[in-house]
């Protein structure tokens, strides 16, 4: 599901039930993060993601996360400033017989209150099998 042209190019998004349950359904039904994620899900699965909405995750983040080869999009997905989009989806780019796709691996708050794991820490855990500094 890719088309040529950097600006118009879109890539399919795949959201597994297990990843969705662990990343999104851990929030209460009517919580802000869950509502924001659910609002984006149908469009993501139907239309995929435009490369212009994507950013590469940091190879070494300020909180010690190492997320090379993962990509992210801030939520709500829009052209609003990042400060107005407090949540994030992190995806792992993959390839199958159907072509290139982005698999959801983490969702959550970008800058949670102290004591709560960020979306980046959860992505690190999923990628490396443990949280940073553990």
């Amino acid at each position: 599901m890719t088309t040529p042209g950097r600006g118009e190019r879109r890539v399919a998004v795949r959201i597994g039930p297990g990843a969705w349950e662990e990343e999104v359904e851990r929030f209460d039904d009517r919580s802000r993060p869950r509502t924001a994620a659910e609002r984006e899900r149908r469009r993501l699965e139907r239309e995929g993601l435009s490369l212009t909405d994507l950013e590469r995750c940091a190879e070494l983040g300020p909180d010690g996360t190492r997320l090379a080869d993962l990509v992210k999009v801030y939520v709500p997905i829009s052209h609003a400033p990042p400060s107005e989009r407090p949540f994030g989806f992190v995806f792992s780019p993959g390839s199958s017989e159907q072509g290139l796709y982005f698999a959801l691996v983490a969702f959550g708050e970008r800058h949670p209150r102290p004591g709560v794991r960020s979306v980046y820490e959860r992505a690190h855990r999923r990628l490396h099998g443990r949280y940073p500094a553990q």
């Binding site: 890719t2 950097r6 890539v11 795949r14 597994g16 297990g18 990843a19 662990e22 851990r26 490369l51 994507l54 950013e55 590469r56 995750c57 940091a58 983040g61 300020p62 909180d63 996360t65 997320l67 090379a68 080869d69 990509v71 992210k72 990042p82 792992s92 780019p93 993959g94 390839s95 199958s96 017989e97 159907q98 290139l100 796709y101 698999a103 959801l104 691996v105 970008r110 794991r117 960020s118 979306v119 980046y120 959860r122 855990r125 999923r126 990628l127 099998g129 949280y131 500094a133 553990q134």
Partner: protein, 79 residues
């Protein structure tokens, strides 16, 4: 005069170790280190990135392939 308030709190002892999963109120949590000698609970993560790709019948792209297919994506260094 201040009234004293006593709270009766039942304690449930859990025989768990780091890496175990526990279920509380139909939600799963993982026992992880709190980095100061104790443990804490985090919402469970039970699938690795590789396992997620396997569920989709695919595999993660290598760094080289990623750059070849997606080009140089921007990064804000936040995480």
């Amino acid at each position: 005069m201040l009234a004293s308030v006593e709270m009766a709190v039942g304690v449930t002892t859990l025989d768990v170790k780091i890496g175990d999963l526990v279920e509380i109120g139909a939600r799963r949590y993982e026992v992880v280190s709190d980095k100061v000698g104790g443990v804490t609970l985090e919402p469970a993560i039970t699938r690795t990135v590789a396992e997620i790709h396997a569920e989709h019948g695919g595999h993660p792209l290598s760094s080289e392939k990623l750059k070849e297919l997606l080009g140089d994506l921007p990064s804000d260094g936040e995480g």
